[in-house]
């Protein structure tokens, strides 16, 4: 049992490290297409972390929506846009070193904070398993209001996005 736990631990940390490496790839690689592939890897890695945290449903949704739909769309856009996939684009500028230094400072401070805080981790919380049924009940019960609000947000954004992205037809230029 002890060794098993050790292996799980090593596995999780390796996974986290991999996600971080790919995330760095997203913001440093020069080829947009490679960046998109790295992003897909990050999203898959996060989904695997969710499985490790017993959030199976969230993991499935993550794969389905982010990897399946969003990333496919992103890659399509890159492939369809003229030569965007072959160009090499610089992702850093003169301010990058300063940003890296200050960010590392923040990361160190946050790490200190996270390690010092006595997080209220209970056995009950650790054993909790979010079933799809419970999730559905919560969405239609306590969280019905935010759930509905999200749908309003989405439709408002959709209408607005179409209004500013759509090409003017020649006939309806000025009314």
């Amino acid at each position: 049992m002890e060794t098993l736990e050790l292996f799980v631990r090593i596995g999780i940390y390796t996974l986290m490290a991999l996600v971080l490496v790919f995330a760095l790839g997203v913001v440093t690689l020069r080829n947009l297409f490679h960046c998109a592939l790295c992003l897909a890897a990050v999203l898959i890695g996060t989904a695997m972390l969710y499985v490790g945290l017993r959030a199976d449903f969230l993991a499935a949704v993550q794969i389905l929506i982010y990897v399946g739909a969003v990333m496919t769309l992103v890659i399509f856009v890159i492939m369809l846009t003229e030569h965007l996939g072959e160009k090499s684009i610089r992702q850093n500028n003169r301010q990058s070193p300063a940003a890296v230094i200050s960010l590392s400072g923040i990361v160190v401070l946050l790490a200190a904070l996270l390690l010092r805080t006595p997080w209220p981790v209970t056995d009950k919380a650790l054993q909790a398993k979010a079933s799809v049924m419970a999730l559905g009940k919560a969405l239609m019960g306590t969280y019905a209001f935010p759930f509905e609000v999200i749908s309003v947000i989405l439709i408002a954004c959709l209408i607005g996005a179409i209004a500013i992205a759509k090409k003017d037809l020649p006939g309806e230029d000025v009314s």
Binding site: L113, P118, T142, I153, A156, A163
Partner: protein, 468 residues
């Protein structure tokens, strides 16, 4: 309170939401966009008429929407800001086009979003509603498709805004981790215990970033001038007032419900940021040549004064913030209504277009003078009442440095506001007389003028309404 019970207190908002969909639907069949605009205004007025003050705080929808006197005030505030903006946009030519109806519809959604912000009492709802307001703001800023500046402003706003939201979201995740709850009162209770003190000190900083961005607090103000300059003028007017005011509302709620125990900690920081914001805004405003950029920096400086009330956070300070926001609503919308008018008629947003305005359009010059004097905080206008209360709060709480710096800043501000008044009255005109204002714009100007004057002359009446 469960959902069915809550619905009967939520009827005005449902009418507003239904109205938004109705307007967008009708827009498909009606050619005359003016009708759509009038219909939108009617929806707003109807919603305002249906609003009822809650007898006691009501935690609607399992506490997702906290309907209390505070939220009630901001409901009126949001509806008024949207209604006046629509009136201002009604005669704004660049928006005329196939998507004018969508513009009005989006503003109705915006009103709904602002009301959600006012009642958000839960980390999830705060994030959702603030993002709702931001998303629609990005869209409205970029609404002028053929204008490169408008598009650039929208992209800048989107990038900065998403970053600020992400930082705030991280802060929320810390709070949720510590308390295991999303409701602000529960989070506040959890943070009360000593082991979580450091966490509270740090997570309040994350809120400073996210909400500071919304209220254009320095050093998170760098988006404001570009966005305000690029956006369609009525949208600029709206952005300087409503999202900012609601940002202050949710900021006040978060600070009051969650971070009161660490007041001594963040109050110092907020004092420093308040000083930084007003000084930066005022000093940069001095050298602006574009009226919209000028008012943008002036609005950053105004945010600095309002932050005084937050830094003090006494009862008087919090009431001062509300009074200031109300005064600011009338004053800034009024000033931007004049900018819309002049921009329409001269096609220019340069300060040079205002030279000799008193001869070209005496009415516009007189109105703008009143609004600028109110922004400078000179009695008997609304701006004075707002400034009076935040200064009083700072003095009462013995924030002497803050008061002195704010006073010096007010003098600098008065200098540049009067520079424009001088430009309008003492510099000879460079062009022919301007045509009179279109009627909707004239009505807006009149209403804002009345608001500025009445709030200045009869503050007791308004204070009674706000502080009930």
């Amino acid at each position: 309170m469960n959902i069915l019970e809550s619905l009967k207190y939520f009827i005005p908002e449902l009418v507003l939401l239904g109205g938004a969909f109705f307007v967008l639907g009708v827009d498909l069949f009606i050619k005359s966009k003016r009708t759509i605009g009038l219909l939108s205004l009617f929806v707003l007025v109807l919603t305002a008429a249906l609003l009822k003050a809650p007898a006691q705080p009501l935690p609607l929808f399992y506490g997702m929407f906290q309907l209390d006197a505070f939220a009630h005030f901001f409901r009126y505030f949001a509806l008024a800001a949207v209604a006046f903006t629509l009136l201002m946009a009604y005669s704004y030519a660049p928006l005329k086009g196939p998507y004018e109806g969508e513009f009005y519809g989006l503003f109705l959604f915006m009103a709904f979003a602002l009301i959600l912000v006012a009642g958000a009492n839960n980390l999830l709802m705060i994030f959702l509603s603030v993002e709702f307001v931001s998303m629609i703001s990005y869209l409205l800023v970029g609404f002028l498709k053929k204008d490169a500046k408008s598009k650039e402003a929208a992209i800048k706003y989107l990038l900065f805004g998403s970053m600020a939201s992400a930082v705030m979201l991280y802060g929320m995740s810390l709070l949720y981790g510590a308390s295991g709850s999303l409701a602000l009162p529960a989070v506040g209770n959890a943070l009360f215990f000593a082991p979580f003190k450091t966490l509270a000190h740090v997570s309040v900083l994350f809120f400073f970033v996210g909400l500071g961005f919304k209220i254009s607090m320095a050093p998170f103000h760098m988006w404001a001038p570009d966005v305000y300059e690029g956006a369609p003028t009525p949208v600029t007017a709206f952005l300087t007032v409503a999202p900012k005011a609601l940002g202050f509302a949710v900021f006040m709620r978060v600070l009051a419900m969650v971070f009161t125990p660490s007041w001594a900690h963040w109050s110092v920081l907020l004092t420093a940021l308040s000083i930084l914001t007003m000084t930066l805004g005022n000093l940069t405003a001095l050298s602006q040549n574009n009226i919209k950029r000028f008012l943008a920096y002036s609005s950053i400086a105004q945010a600095g004064y309002i932050l005084m009330g937050l830094a003090v956070f006494s009862d008087l300070g919090r009431q001062g913030v509300l009074v200031y926001l109300l005064a600011y609503l009338f004053t800034n919308l009024g000033a931007f209504a004049v900018v819309t008018l002049i921009g329409e008629q001269t096609g220019s947003e340069d300060l040079a277009a205002y030279a000799g305005l008193s001869q070209r359009s005496p009415m516009a010059a007189a109105f703008l003078t009143v609004f600028l004097v109110s922004l400078a905080g000179i009695p008997p206008l609304a701006g004075f009442i707002g400034k009076y209360y935040v200064f009083a709060a700072a003095i009462q709480a013995k924030f002497i440095t803050l008061t002195v710096v704010a006073a010096v800043n007010s003098v600098i501000a008065a200098y540049y506001y009067f520079r424009i008044v001088r430009l309008m009255y003492l510099v000879p005109a460079s062009g022919p007389a301007l045509a009179p204002a279109p009627r909707p714009l004239f009505i807006t100007l009149g209403l804002m003028f009345a608001g500025v004057l009445l709030l200045g002359l009869f503050p007791a009446f308004f204070l009674g309404l706000i502080w009930r």
